[in-house]
């Protein structure tokens, strides 16, 4: 019975992925990847996700460290707020970003006064990607910091290391496997961002049209291009997932860090 259900489930999950590669010959997929729509989308996606990842790592790492060192109600509230974008429908994220950072939004005037032009620019794409992807990093990073044996930073402190030194010389190196896994997950989520981007940043080839948006547009223009971009995203996502598995296995002997809640303290 168990074998049958697992088989059915596996088939269901794998079939759509295999189908993308079987619809047209591989050579057609490769030549479709050379179309200007696909190449522009690759460039836009690479640029925006690179910026988004920098933002996520620079702001997310200290935040995760702070959260991992707290207990109680404040922590619970902060964790809930950080995780909210994770469960929100992308359409909600899109509307939220519009009414917050849109030109007629809450901060629209302020942003305008600063001379920053967000509407329909790559900045809008970066904001959308950062908003939806950062929880994946922060969650995993909190778990990674909590998985560090607490006697190690304590020992460092008794030996005279300041908080900064403890963070950079003890905590970061010890948590780097989990941090890497979190970054990879955030990257994978950001790569596929669609709903918030199309609502908040619009879609223009070469400017704001990321790979996911290009699939949507090419779907009824040139199906081969849509399939080719889909195949590319499948390959990249698979590589990312595999590397997450390897990273977590390598550093903590468990490949399930991805699914563990931030309060996975009991593991040590």
């Amino acid at each position: 019975m168990l074998v049958v259900t697992t088989g059915v489930a596996l088939l269901f999950l794998v079939l759509p992925i295999v189908a993308v590669f079987l619809r047209v010959p591989l050579s057609d997929l490769l030549s479709a990847l050379g179309s200007s729509a696909a190449l522009d989308a690759i460039r836009v996606t690479a640029e925006t996700i690179a910026f988004a990842m920098v933002l996520i790592l620079v702001f997310g790492t200290p935040a995760a460290y702070w959260i991992s060192s707290r207990r109680g109600a404040v922590r619970d509230v902060v964790v809930t707020l950080v995780e909210l974008p994770l469960v929100l429908p992308p359409a909600v994220a899109g509307i939220g970003l519009l009414v917050a950072f849109g030109r007629a939004g809450l901060l629209g005037g302020t942003v305008d006064a600063l001379g920053i032009d967000i509407a329909f620019t790559k900045v809008a794409v970066i904001l959308a990607v950062t908003f939806v992807a950062s929880p994946f990093f922060v969650r995993t990073a909190v778990a990674a910091f909590e998985a560090v044996d607490p006697t190690l930073p304590a020992a460092a402190r008794t030996l005279g290391a300041g908080p900064g030194r403890v963070f950079f010389r003890v905590m970061l190196p010890l948590a780097k496997g989990g941090l890497g896994a979190g970054a990879a997950l955030a990257f994978a989520r950001g790569l596929g961002e669609f709903g918030a981007t199309i609502m908040f940043a619009g879609s223009l080839q070469g400017v704001t049209q990321t790979l996911s948006l290009a699939i949507y547009e090419q779907f009824d223009v040139d199906l081969n291009v849509a399939l080719a971009i889909s195949a590319l995203l499948i390959v990249v996502s698979a590589v990312v997932l595999l590397s997450v598995k390897l990273m977590t296995r390598w550093h903590s002997g468990s490949g399930s860090l991805i699914l563990s809640a931030p309060s996975s303290r009991q593991r040590n």
Binding site: T5, L98, R103, A201, G202, D220, V221
Partner: protein, 250 residues
């Protein structure tokens, strides 16, 4: 453990099959599935609440029907989409059922100070239009060509997938201006100002409707198309701001 999995699996199966059969039962009890251009959203859904609608860009709907979507009727904002499906024998012979005209809309606050279509060329502006494959996107390009304003296309900041997405971006004030049908400006008239496009620059806009060949309710679908062509249907369209069927194509 094994037994519990089996039980869960059985429950899931039963639930799934009952869902499927109840959906099937509801379909038996009549509603037609109508695939219609986004610009028909308000008029169709208030004209006949009993049917099920899928509103989107006509080009997206064409692709969906081509890939076997379970539509009974297809109402397109351009003849191209219905005719292509007709040639592929996927819909019965399409008929023209209404017309429309294009307008330029700007947010009420009019941040870019656009007061005529020509201002699009003179002033810096964030212009939003629909993609070239979307009917309204095609009509937009025709207007710009007729007015000698194709250079304005370089000011386009986003190409949307249907007319409602264009309308929304302008109504929210995110974009400075956008080309939509006159009928799309109506529901958002408190948020936007309408700039008319001269009659000589208007494209020939024809909406076509057709029964989908594979529909399992063809008689009902044909009756529904008749209803749209009837005086009552035409009055509903007229009241929503649509234009009468152009004489030449009657």
């Amino acid at each position: 453990m094994r037994n519990r999995f089996a039980a869960l699996f059985a429950i899931a199966l039963v639930a799934a099959s009952s869902l499927a059969s109840s959906a099937g039962a509801r379909r038996q009890a009549n509603p037609l599935t109508i695939y219609a251009a986004a610009s028909l959203t308000e008029v169709f859904s208030s004209f006949d609440r009993a049917q099920r609608y899928n509103f989107a860009g006509s080009n997206a709907l064409e692709t969906q029907i081509r890939n076997g979507a379970p539509a009974d009727v297809f109402a397109s904002a351009a003849p191209l989409n219905t005719q292509r499906l007709f040639q592929a024998r996927m819909v019965d012979k399409p008929v023209t059922f209404t017309s429309n005209r294009l307008v330029l809309i700007v947010p009420r606050s009019n941040p870019a100070g656009i007061h005529s279509v020509y201002d699009l060329k003179r002033k810096p502006v964030k212009l939003v239009i629909a993609g070239a494959a979307v009917p309204v996107g095609g009509y937009t390009r025709t207007v710009l060509r007729k007015m000698g304003l194709t250079s304005v296309l370089s000011k386009v900041v986003s190409q949307e997938s249907d007319v409602k997405a264009v309308t929304g971006k302008v109504a929210l004030g995110q974009a400075d201006a956008g080309f939509v049908y006159a009928t799309d400006a109506r529901p958002v008239r408190t948020q936007v100002s309408v700039i008319r496009i001269p009659a000589w620059a208007q494209p020939r806009i024809r909406y076509e409707i057709a029964v989908v060949s594979r529909s399992s309710h063809k008689a009902a679908a044909r009756a529904w198309v008749k209803k749209i062509l009837s005086p009552r249907g035409q009055r509903a369209l007229r009241n929503a701001g649509f234009l009468p069927i152009p004489k030449a194509s009657r």
